[in-house]
Symmetry: C2
Subunit: 212 residues, 2 copies
Amino acid sequence: MRLYGYFRSGTSHRVRIALNLKGLTYETVPVHLLKGEQRQESYLAVNPQGLVPTLEHDGTRIGQSLAIIEYLERIHPEPPLLPKDPAGQARVRALALICACDMHPLGNLRVLQYLKNVLGLDQEARDAWCRHWMATGFEALEARLAGEPETGRFCHGDAPTLADVCLVPQVVGAQRWGTDLGPYPTVRRIFDAGMALDAFVRAMPASQPDAA
Amino acid sequence: MRLYGYFRSGTSHRVRIALNLKGLTYETVPVHLLKGEQRQESYLAVNPQGLVPTLEHDGTRIGQSLAIIEYLERIHPEPPLLPKDPAGQARVRALALICACDMHPLGNLRVLQYLKNVLGLDQEARDAWCRHWMATGFEALEARLAGEPETGRFCHGDAPTLADVCLVPQVVGAQRWGTDLGPYPTVRRIFDAGMALDAFVRAMPASQPDAA
């Protein structure tokens, strides 16, 4: 397996955690987003959307982190990242999608570049934008995680699932923008539970070969 | 089944199409987003995130449209909205996620309200924002759909899948913002293929009981 990604990309980070949890080894192909390598012909031939990550496996190239992780779940079912029961699967996917649809897309690089280059927002206004959407998302996650009986040591029970795979990179991103995580004790507790596992530690941005 | 949603919400629209394609009947519970009903106590008790849609079924409440549709796929597998092979599933999910992560979140109501109320953007600048992200997403979709052999009458083969369930509402939204769909002939062709089916026609915003 070959993973095209960027050390600081939250979506690449999700896939690294999933690969590690499943005990899969892979080759890292760095795509330097700040240098614009994602828009070069060579990478557009791999991923026409010009976004990371892309997983290459068995002649197939897959974009979109959640599609990659569902693919890994299908071809390497153990250890599972989704519960067996339909309601549990729906809960885990919904928690993951809060990160993937309602938080991450609003704080990613191309959006921040638009805010800066087209709308002329200064650093302070851009940070406030990010913190607003992170806070809104973490409030939703905290309300569910603190209030629902399915929450355990991790988002759903006592083993990591797709929800934790998305939550941990989201916390890492939020820390970079100076989001106050004080109001989200359950989110912080689950983040710490992840970081107690080698699979999460090895996936951290600073541990990647392309880290600055 | 009971679907809390809003006639004009693209994510509610996705779920309506999926329910119709699977031949499932459901009760509509309108949540009027422009009146702020999604932030009222009564709805927050249903969905703590204060977003639509929510599906109620068999004592379970599920938020996040893609989690709902995967749940429907699991409990009512026929007709399938995902291919059987892992690579095909990954392709369909990736196409759906281009809409769900890279397009829709940037044009939804709460983001437009932030652009207006916090950043002070006028209608023209807000429309330009929407059109920019829609164009970026449709370019990616068109490149894949026009260039990949798996594309058929629909996004993946000749029957509708999760990818079409997401693409059609995205086109409807883009039309509302005046996005020029001329450069995306494959997207338009697939939209038309969807609109030739009763399941898609009945799911359109204007056909809902809460349509203005």
